[in-house]
Each structure stands twice: as structure tokens, then as C-alpha cells.
């Protein structure tokens, strides 16, 4: 590695303005070796644009983008020696078989030892002799995963990596990410799947409209997570009374159930419910999806910066 003390991935003040509010603005991120950073955000928020800067596909208008101390645009070949990339779109050469495509990528990389490639193909049960064009989306994604991981890179950029994979293969993929983290690789994982982020990542960064609006550790995320409650009122009249008390329209139809998300103060809820005729209250932990939903919807972040 170029500089062992510096973060493996370092972005400071990255700006790329495509006009009409599109692009990324003053994005700053750091990922250390042996760390997995989850990159969350709605479609078009700027995740892939940020990834493209790491890959040296596009030049930053402002700020610095470095991988292992090398400028990602100027020193592209130096950066890519250490980098494994899984693009968001599965765009392998469709006319080739998986084996010939992987051999081509390994050959271009100067990778002589193909044992890891075969090992990963076995883990993901990939038929190396099948033509990529005839593969399902999931199998094409497996080819992309093997391509990204086969050189045991120091830095991994994974854009929607489990897209199209079945649950078993998603599990194996998460095991692979954990293995790479333990080996010391720095991983930036862009995903829409909250469970995947929750399981794989040490930290999470949320990007919206091209700006990173929240960065926190998964421990902080867990402490921020409230609980969700399902309250079943004794009758519709009671539920309507609840809705009116919270400034909502009275209940329509026969539904007696209210879903409450992100409840932090359970005592206050119990006190309030004591004045209603309640048939049943069940509770569950708030999902990451619920936790971040307000960011997706465009509210100001309630988490810490």
C-alpha cells in the first residue's frame, strides 16, 4: 500500500456539478483498511457518480479523490492495481463465456494465479463455461463478483453488489465481504438493501441530492433505532379518537390497528394509551429502513453528523 497510515479511501470536498441540481457537492468520505462503509441513498442521489470518481472514469471539478494516497484520475493505473470494482450495471461482454471473460480480465491485470478465481466460482456455483449473454441476471452478477474479488484487492468498490442474487448467494456474498474485511481490505458498499448494510458494514454514510447528510457508525445507528409498535384498539371509535388527537382524519372502514414507528419514549406511549380502550399492543425493533426513511423522504437528518 502507498501510505499505511492514511485512509485507504479518502474523498474531501468532492464536487461535480451536472447542472439542474444533479451531481455531487462537497462530498467527504473516508474508509480505512479493514473497514466496510455502507453507502446509502435514493436513486440519483450521487452514489454511482462518487464511485465513478474513485474509478477515475470522471474528473472531479473540485476537491480531492484518493485511493491509497494516489489521485484517482491522474494516477488511474496505480490506483487500479489495488482496486476491485463491481459496477452497478452488469455489463460483462455478453458474447464471451464466463471463463474466457474472467481469463481476459485476469490477463489484463497480469494475474497469473487463477486459484482464487476458481475458488470463488465454486463458492457462487458459477458455471464457467456458460455464455454470459445466456445467463440470468443473478449469474451475470456472480461473474461481476468473481471479477471484482479474484485479485484479492486492497480496496473494493461494490455498487449494488447483491442485485439479482438469491438469498443463499446473498449470504455467501456477505460472508465474502466479512472475509475480505478480516484480510484488511477497505470496502465501500453501495446498496439499497438495509439488512445488507446492517450486516456487512462498520459505518454508514447517507447521501441525498448529491450531499452526504449523515455519517455514523453502526453502533450509533443501533442506538438511534427506536421501536415500532402495533396498537390494536378495542373498536373503530377508539381508533378514530386517537387519530383525531394526533391531527389526522378519523378512521375509515373497520380498521382498528395503528402502526407507530420510531418510538423512543415508551413510557410516554404507555401513559397516552392508558386513556384509550386498547385490545392489544405488540412491539418490534425499528428496521434500518424505517430509521432512514425520513432521509429518503427528504426530511432533515435527525442523526448525528
Amino acid at each position: 500500500m502507498a501510505n499505511a497510515s492514511a485512509p485507504a479511501i479518502c474523498v474531501r470536498g468532492l464536487t461535480k456539478d451536472y447542472g439542474r441540481g444533479r451531481g455531487v457537492f462537497d462530498v467527504s468520505l473516508e474508509v480505512s483498511s479493514g473497514e466496510v462503509l455502507g453507502f446509502l441513498g435514493p436513486n440519483g442521489a450521487g452514489k454511482t457518480v462518487t464511485m465513478r470518481h474513485f474509478m477515475g472514469f470522471i474528473r472531479a471539478q473540485g476537491g480531492t479523490v484518493e485511493v491509497l494516497g494516489h489521485d484517482c484520475f491522474r494516477d488511474r493505473p496505480l490506483v487500479q492495481v489495488h482496486l476491485g470494482y463491481l459496477p452497478g450495471e452488469s455489463s460483462c461482454m455478453r458474447e464471451m463465456t464466463a471463463r474466457s471473460f474472467l481469463n481476459l480480465m485476469a490477463g489484463m491485470r497480469g494475474l497469473r494465479d487463477r486459484s482464487r478465481m476458481r475458488e470463488l466460482a465454486d463458492v457462487f456455483e458459477l458455471d464457467l463455461d456458460a455464455r454470459i449473454g445466456g445467463m440470468s441476471k443473478g449469474n451475470r452478477q456472480k461473474v461481476a463478483i468473481v471479477t471484482a474479488f479474484m485479485a484479492r484487492p486492497d480496496v473494493l468498490l461494490l455498487d449494488e453488489p447483491t442485485s439479482g442474487l438469491d438469498p443463499l448467494m446473498q449470504e455467501r456474498f456477505l460472508d465474502l465481504v466479512a472475509e475480505e474485511r478480516a484480510r484488511g481490505a477497505a470496502v465501500l458498499l453501495s446498496s439499497h438493501i438495509f439488512e445488507e448494510i446492517g450486516r456487512a458494514c462498520d459505518r454508514v454514510a447517507f447521501i441525498r441530492a448529491g450531499r452526504v447528510v449523515m455519517t455514523c457508525t453502526m453502533d450509533e445507528v443501533r442506538s438511534m433505532r427506536g421501536r415500532g409498535y402495533t396498537v390494536e384498539f378495542a373498536n373503530v371509535r377508539e381508533r378514530s379518537r386517537w387519530e383525531l388527537a394526533h391531527g389526522n382524519e378519523p378512521a375509515k372502514g373497520g380498521a382498528r390497528v395503528v402502526e407507530l414507528r420510531g418510538v423512543r419514549d415508551v413510557n410516554a406511549l404507555i401513559r397516552e394509551l392508558s386513556s384509550y380502550d386498547v385490545a392489544e399492543v405488540t412491539s418490534r425493533a425499528q428496521t434500518l429502513e424505517e430509521l432512514f426513511l425520513h432521509l429518503y423522504e427528504g426530511d432533515e437528518p435527525s442523526g448525528r453528523k
Binding site: L78, Q80, L83, P87, C92
Partner: protein
């Protein structure tokens, strides 16, 4: 050059090269076979009946030797248009298609550098053109030797074909520069070939009448003078060299543009 990529791309480019080579040598065989004084007279009759049409396709004069006959009937149009189709297909296949399909992201993700990547792709295109000119030259010589022994001066034919190769390099450079530099994939695929087609059409138009002859002189194709090459004219040699150098410069400019451009793939 990136050898694994070169081998892979060459395999995918050999088929269109083979097709164009087959068509070119078929025409070459027919034209050499037509070098018959009796048939020549009937051709002259046809030419007299339709002088503008023959002139448009660069066939205004039959010539007195086999080489002149070949130059008039082959090198004025067919050996410009057919290779233009090939370079359009190959530059699209080697650059534009990778960008359109997104597979360029995998090529760019390897630690080879954009310049080396593009030089490797360009070398596939140039190799295919070398293959085409070599096959064509060998076939023309063999065909002429079989049908009209001693009629064709081999060194003159090689010189004409070397100049033709310089013209092909120029056409390739035009298509390559467009494919590498233009951000819109359709424009990248068609801009170079459209411009080259315009040059060819201008050449054809200039042969139709004296009042339009100036059009041909303002296109770069005017630098291609195969008969002048055969007769050892310095001007024709310089013209061919200028075409070859321009082609190389266009390749370099395209590669530099590709090195610097943003690629949203």
C-alpha cells in the same frame, strides 16, 4: 499493446475483415479478368454511352497497362468504399460498442491506463487493414500472373497498394477520432464515417463535369493519386505520405481525447 485484449478483439474483428477481403478480392479478380482488349472495347463503348456515370466512379479512363486498368476500375471507388465500411464497423466494435454496452467499465477497471488500452484497440484495427492489403496484394499479383503473365509490374502494384493503405489509415483515423472523442454514442459511431462518405461523394461528384471538378480537389481524398504513385510522381508520394501521417495524427488525437474525457459508464 495489451496482448490478451488484442487477441480477444482480433478474433471478433477477423470475421468482418474476412468478409470485406472476400468482396474486395472478388472484384479484383473480376477486374483483372476483364483486362481483355475485346472486352475493353465494349467497356469503352459503355463508357462512351455513360461518361458521367463512369467518371463518378473514377473510371473515366481505361488506361493502357493492366495496372492502369486496375487503378481506374478498382482504386477510384471500390477500394475506398469497401475499406471505409470495414473501418466504420471495426472502430464501432472496438470503441463505441464497449461504451454503449458499458463493458468499457471492466476494461478501464484494469491497471493498464486509457492510452495503452486505446493503442491496443487501435492496433487491432491497423492489423486488420494490414491483413486486408496483404491479402489483396497477394491475390492481385497471383491473379494477374495467372491470367496475364508479365503484364503487371509487381513493385508498382505494391507501391499503389501502400498508398492505398495510407488512404485507409486516414479513413480509419477519422472514424477512430470520432469514436474516441464524441460523448454521444450514436455520434461517436457515425460522425467519422459520415464525413468520409461526404469526401467520397464529393470525389464522385467532381468526376461528373468540369464545372464541379473543383469539389474533388478540396477533399483530403485528392491527395490519393494511385496512377501518380505507379509512375513515381513525387507529388503523389507526398500526398500518400500526408494521408498516412494525418491518419496517425487522428489516431493520436482520438486517443488523447479518450484519455482526458469523462466516461459516465
Amino acid at each position: 499493446m495489451i496482448l490478451p485484449l488484442f487477441r480477444h478483439e482480433l478474433r471478433s474483428c477477423l470475421f468482418p475483415t474476412f468478409i470485406i477481403a472476400a468482396v474486395a478480392i472478388l472484384y479484383a479478380g473480376v477486374i483483372v479478368g476483364m483486362y481483355d482488349p475485346a472486352l475493353g472495347e465494349s467497356l469503352a463503348l459503355m463508357r462512351d454511352a455513360m461518361p458521367e456515370l463512369f467518371a463518378a466512379f473514377g473510371m473515366a479512363d481505361q488506361g493502357t497497362t493492366l495496372l492502369e486498368f486496375m487503378v481506374n476500375y478498382l482504386y477510384g471507388f471500390l477500394l475506398v468504399a469497401l475499406p471505409l465500411v470495414l473501418v466504420a464497423v471495426l472502430s464501432s466494435r472496438l470503441v463505441a460498442r464497449h461504451i454503449e454496452r458499458g463493458s468499457i467499465s471492466y476494461l478501464l477497471a484494469q491497471p493498464v491506463g486509457r492510452t495503452r488500452l486505446m493503442l491496443s484497440q487501435a492496433s487491432v484495427l491497423v492489423f486488420c487493414l494490414v491483413l486486408l492489403v496483404a491479402v489483396l496484394t497477394a491475390f492481385e499479383l497471383a491473379c494477374a500472373q495467372a491470367l496475364f503473365p508479365g503484364e503487371l509490374d509487381a513493385s508498382d502494384l505494391v507501391a499503389v497498394n501502400a498508398a492505398t493503405f495510407c488512404l485507409w489509415l486516414f479513413l480509419s483515423g477519422m472514424c477512430w477520432a470520432g469514436a474516441c472523442a464524441l460523448p454521444n454514442v450514436s455520434a461517436a459511431r457515425w460522425a467519422g464515417v459520415a464525413l468520409c462518405t461526404l469526401f467520397v461523394l464529393a470525389q464522385m461528384l467532381s468526376g461528373v463535369g468540369d464545372e464541379l471538378s473543383w469539389i474533388g480537389d478540396v477533399t483530403p481524398l485528392a491527395l490519393f493519386d494511385p496512377l501518380g504513385i505507379a509512375s513515381g510522381s513525387m507529388g503523389a508520394l507526398a500526398g500518400a505520405a500526408a494521408l498516412g501521417v494525418s491518419g496517425a495524427v487522428l489516431f493520436a488525437l482520438g486517443t488523447i481525447a479518450f484519455e482526458r474525457r469523462d466516461l459516465s459508464v
